[in-house]
Symmetry: none
Subunit: 122 residues, 4 copies
DNA sequence: GTGGTCTAGACCACA
DNA sequence: GTGGTCTAGACCACG
């Protein structure tokens, strides 16, 4: 699991990190129970501030993606059926609208989504 | 075409407006050539500032969703096959990962996407 | 001499008209003494407001490109060595800087300028 | 890098600032990677509003001249061959036509352009 | 009456 | 301390 950052992006660094962890879990690169790097380690190796890493970890914890284990530090949470947040659905609605307005048919859009989902299964 | 804002959301107002216009175009509630409310009118009826509306309009213009005719104000741009931006794909990858980690199967995810796309066709 | 307008441009219509007349004179499509269409005629055939045409004509007159002849209406002024305005030089400096920053060498920039100048001699 | 504004000019302040930055980059007074003054600092020292500076910076960012690094603020973008915009060429055509109508020969015009380009190389 | 520009403040998210 | 966002006004260019 490698993390990388685009310092010019308009997405905050802590959110970029959070997104990479979520994608990593989906792709199976991060397995339930697997230990995440310590805040200090991750901050040092990627050149970002410890507070930024901390903020990302806190968010991920709150969203249920990771949890703090007393013995082994921060680990990936066991998979469990979670609720789909309203924000996720709303974000999806916006992005799918963008694709639709760009001229993609329903079939084409579903093909894109299937491809992206399967990327997640790799 | 009605607009509404969530003043508690962490999504900036101008982006909320931009998103509603994009969704409106996808849903056919805003037709190509149709005139959008003037900046002042929209600002007044929705209780947000003129410059905030202006910012949203400028973003939409830059993205090719609308254009301002020097004679007739701001109108919805004619539909044309556009390029899919890298950001759209990246955002989609993140959201689909969230769904996947929440335990949704490929089939279920595609069902959600189809439903949302068809909402756009209404 | 045909005029055409881009109603979506950020250049005002009266300035677009003014520019087309200047280019037309440079290209020899408008000869000294040649009569320009009346304000009303030009406005009607091109679908813009009479006030807009009037504003362009007034600007062109003030800049010495055209003059009002008592007998024949508005005509192209006789060519004469004019002063180069400070704004022209400043505008040129900005545009040449843009080309330079885009990576064009002095030779390439001069080639572009020569080509554009010779277009004017057609 | 000093900035100065002509408050009587009909060129908007944000555009005057944008132009000065472009010229500064061309002249090598602003080097790739060099940090630009913060929005607040520039606004204060030049007596214009923060939002006006912000608007100029956003335009420059969009045009690829500068970029904002989430850690180190706003810096000059690394030079790279860019595309020449259609507007630049059109603007050049207008200005060269003005020179031509003023009576400058091709040789004289190219001399002017060479001089201005080399000013940029200083 | 339209959009564009600008001001002088304020608050917040980010790092 | 940085840029991003927002407000409530104002003035102007354009058509």
């Amino acid at each position: 699991m490698l993390v990388s950052f685009d310092f010019q992006s308009d997405i905050p660094l802590y959110m970029q990190l959070r997104n990479q962890v979520v994608i990593g879990i989906a792709q199976g690169k991060l397995l339930p129970g697997e230990q995440l790097p310590t805040i200090r380690a991750l901050a040092e190796e990627s050149g970002i501030n410890m507070m930024t890493v901390s903020k990302a970890y806190q968010l991920l914890k709150q969203e249920g993606y990771i949890l703090t284990d007393r013995r082994s530090g921060t680990v990936v949470a066991p998979r469990q059926k979670g609720v789909i947040s309203e924000e996720t659905i709303h974000g999806l609605r916006v992005l799918l609208s963008e694709l639709q307005v760009s001229g993609l048919s329903e079939k084409e859009v579903l093909t894109v989504c299937r491809k992206l989902y399967q990327e997640g299964t790799k």
